[in-house]
Amino acid sequence: MSDASAHALEHHEPVTSTGIPNKKVLMWAFLGSDCMFFGTLISTHLIYRKISATVGGNFLDIRDVFDIELTSFSTFILLASSLFMALAVSAIHKGNLKSTRWMLFGTIVFGAIFLACQVYEFTHFVHAPGNELTLSTYRGEPHVFGSTFYVLTGTHGTHVAIGVFWLLGWLAYSFTGKMSTAHALDVEICGLYWHFVDIVWIIIFPVIYLMEYAM
C-alpha cells in the first residue's frame, strides 16, 4: 500500500534532486530576476533625484504634491494583505477550503484597495492645481521626476494587479469543487510572489516617499 501511494504521489510531484518542488525553484529564480528589474528602476529614480534636484531654477520640493497620509494608509493596507495571504497558504495546507476562500478574498480586497489608492494618487498628482506632476513635467517645467516616479510605482502597481488576478483565479477555482490540499504548493507559490511584491513596496515607500520628508 505504501508503495502504491508513493507511486501515485510520484506521478503528481516528481522526486527532485534537492527535494524542493520544481515550481518553487522556478518562482525563486523569477523573484531573483525581479529584484534586478526593481533594482534598475529604483536606481534610475535615485540617480535622477540626486542630479536633477531643481525644477525651473527652484529646489524641487515634491512634498507639495505628495499625499503622505494616503500613501501611508495604502502601505499599511498592502502590508496587512500579506497576513491574509499567509493565512490562506496555511489554510490550504490544512485542507480548510472555507478559510482559504475567505483569506484569499481578504488578500484580494486589500490588494484592490491598494490599487485604488494608487489610481487615486496618480490622478490626483497629474491634476494637482499648480503642482501638476506629469510623465514629463513638474509644474509645467520639463523634468524627470514624473518619468521615474510613475514608471517605477506603475511597474509595482502592475505587479500587484497581476497578483490580484492570480488570486482571483484561485478564488474562482475554489468554487469548482476541485480544489484540495494538492493545490497547496500552487497557492504557496502565489503567496511567495505576493510577499515579494510587498517587500518591494517596503523598499519603495521609504526610499521614494519618506526620504522626501527627511530632507
Partner: protein
Amino acid sequence: MATESIKYVAPDTENKVKTQVFPRPGQHTTGLVDWLTTIDHKKIGLMYGLTALFFLIIGGIEALLIRSQLWDHNMTVLTNREYNQMFTMHGTTMVFLVIMPLSAAFFNFIMPLQIGARDVAFPRMNTLSLWCFVAGGIILNLSWFFTGGSPAIGWFGYAPLTDTRFAEVIGDMGPDFWVFALQILGVASLLASFNFITTIINMRAPGMTMMRLPLFTWMTLIVSFLIILAFPAITIALVELMFDRTYGTNFFDFLEGGKPHLWQHLFWIFGHPEVYILILPAMGIVSEVIPVFSRKPLFGYGLIVFSGAIIGFMGFAVWSHHMFTTGMGVVATSAFSMLTMLIAIPTGVKIFNWIGTMWGGRIRFDTPMLFALGFITMFMIGGFTGIMHSSVPIDAQHQDSYFVVAHFHYVLIGGALFGLFCGFYFWLPKMTGRMMSEKLGKLVFTLMFIGFNLTFFPMHYLGMIGQPRRTHTYNEGHGFETWNQIATIGAFILGVGIVIGIYQFVNAFFNKKLKPAGKNPWDARTLEWTLSSPVKEYNFARTPIIKARDQAWENTYGPKDNQSEKEPLDDHGVHMPDRSWWPLITALGLFGMCLGMLFHRNIDPSGELVRNYTFAILGGVVMVTGIIMWALEGPGGYHLFPKEDEE
C-alpha cells in the same frame, strides 16, 4: 490491493478534448501539428537551431553588404543611412537571433540528456520560449517594411540616436521595432533560463552530483544565471526608452533633464554579462570536445567549473570598460580597468586547462577537434586585444576604430561561432543518427578559418592607422583600400564556408546514404552517448544511477564500481506529458500585443495624434486566455513502455 492501485490508466486525451476549440494533440500526432505543439526538448532544440541558422544567413548577407560597401573608397553600394541600418541589424541579429539561440539549441537538446532527465522541468514553458524567440525575430525583421525602414541606431541603441526628435525620417518606426523585438526576445531568454536553472538544480539523475555534471551543463547553469540577472537591466532600459518614444517621458531626453549617459550604463550592465552569455556556452562545448579527442579526462575539472563561475560573477563588475571615453572620472575608470584585467585570469585558467588536457593525449584531428582548436587560438587573439583595451590610454586610442571591430569579431566568430560549429559537428550524429562527411567538414573548417582571419586580421591594422568604425565610407589617400579589399575577399570566403556548413548540417537530417552513427561514434565521455542516435523520444527507458564523472567513458573502460546502474523498469511506464497548443497561442497573443502597440498611434486628418489600443488589447486577451487555458489543461500525459534496454 497494492497491484490494483499501481495499475495506472492513461488519461484518455483523444476523447476528452473533442469538445474544446483547440483539441489537444494526442500521442500519435505527426507532421506540422506535431512541430507546432511539441513540448519535446529535442524537437524544440532543433527548431531553435534551424531558426538561428536561417538568421545566420540573413545576418551574414547584411555583413557581406557592409563589406561590399567598404571595398573601395567612396563606394555607393549602400547610402549612409542604409549602411547604418545594416550594421545595426547585423549586430542585433547576430547577438540575439544567432549566437544566443544556437546556444539555446544545444542547451535544450543536450543538457537534459547529460543529466539523465526525461525532459526539462517545464516542457510547455520551453515551447513558449521558442515561439517568443521566433516572434521577436519576426518583429525585428518586419521593421524593413515600415516607415523609416530598419533601425539605424547600432545594436547598442545609444541615446540620443533613439530620440524621436533626431530621427532622420519623420515617424521613423525602426527603433520602435527594435525596442519591442528585444523585449520579446528578453522574455524568451528569461523563460528559457528559469527552465534550465530548475532542470539542472532539480532534475539530475540519482548520483549526478553537482561536481559530476558535465562541463557543458555547468556552463548552461552559469549562463542561465547570467541571463536572469542581466536581462532585467536592458528590459527596464527598453521599457524606459519605450515610454520616452511613446509617451514622451524624459528618461534619456537630454533637452528635458534626461541623461543619455544613463542609457549607456544600463545597456552595458546588461551588455557585458551578455558577452559571457555568448562565449560561455562555446567554452562549455569545447570543454566537452577536447577531452574526447585527446582521449584524456578534462584537466582540472573543478578549476574550469569555478573559473567559469568567477567569470560569470565578475562579468557584472566590468561593464564600464565599454565607456572609458565617456568621462566617468578617475576612480571609476581605474576601478573598472583593474577589474577588467582581473577577469582575464579565470579565462586564462581555462585556456591552460584545455592545453593541459591535450598535453600527452592521443589527439585525433576530426572536424569537431579542429573547430575546438580554432576556438582556442582565435579566442586567445581576441582575448589579448581585450586585455589591451582594459588599459584606459590604449582604449582611448582604439575607441570607435576598426581595431575594436577586429577584437570582438575574434571573440564572437573565432570564439563563439567556432565553438558552436564545433558543437554541431560533435553532436549532430547524436541528433540525426548519421555521421557527416569528414572531408566536407574539414573543407568547411579550412574555408572558415582562412576567410575569418583574412577578414578580421587586417582590421587590427586598419584600426591602428585610423579607420573609424560605423562610418559608411572613407576618402582616397588614407591607404585603407588594400586591406579593406583583403577583408572583403575574406568575408566572402567565410560566407561560403558557413553556407557549406549549414548545407552539411541540414543534409545530415535528410540524406539516408550517410553512415549511421551508432550510440557513441566518437568514443565520447558523457551520459548522452549512452543513448541511441537519434535519441528516442523518452530519452532514458530507465533512469540511470550515476557513479562517476564521464559516465559513458567509465561504462566502457572504467572499473566495475564506476559503472552506472539503472533503476528498475517502472511498471507504469515512462510518463510523457501531452503536446499543447497554448504555448503557441500565448506567444501569438504576445506577438499581436507588440504589433498592436507598434501601430497604435495614428495622425487624424486634423493633425491630432489618435491612440487606438484595440489591437493591442485583443492581443493581450489572446495571451491571457492562452495562459489560463494552459493552467487549466494541466500537464496531461500518456505512458510509453520501452523494453529493458531500448534507449
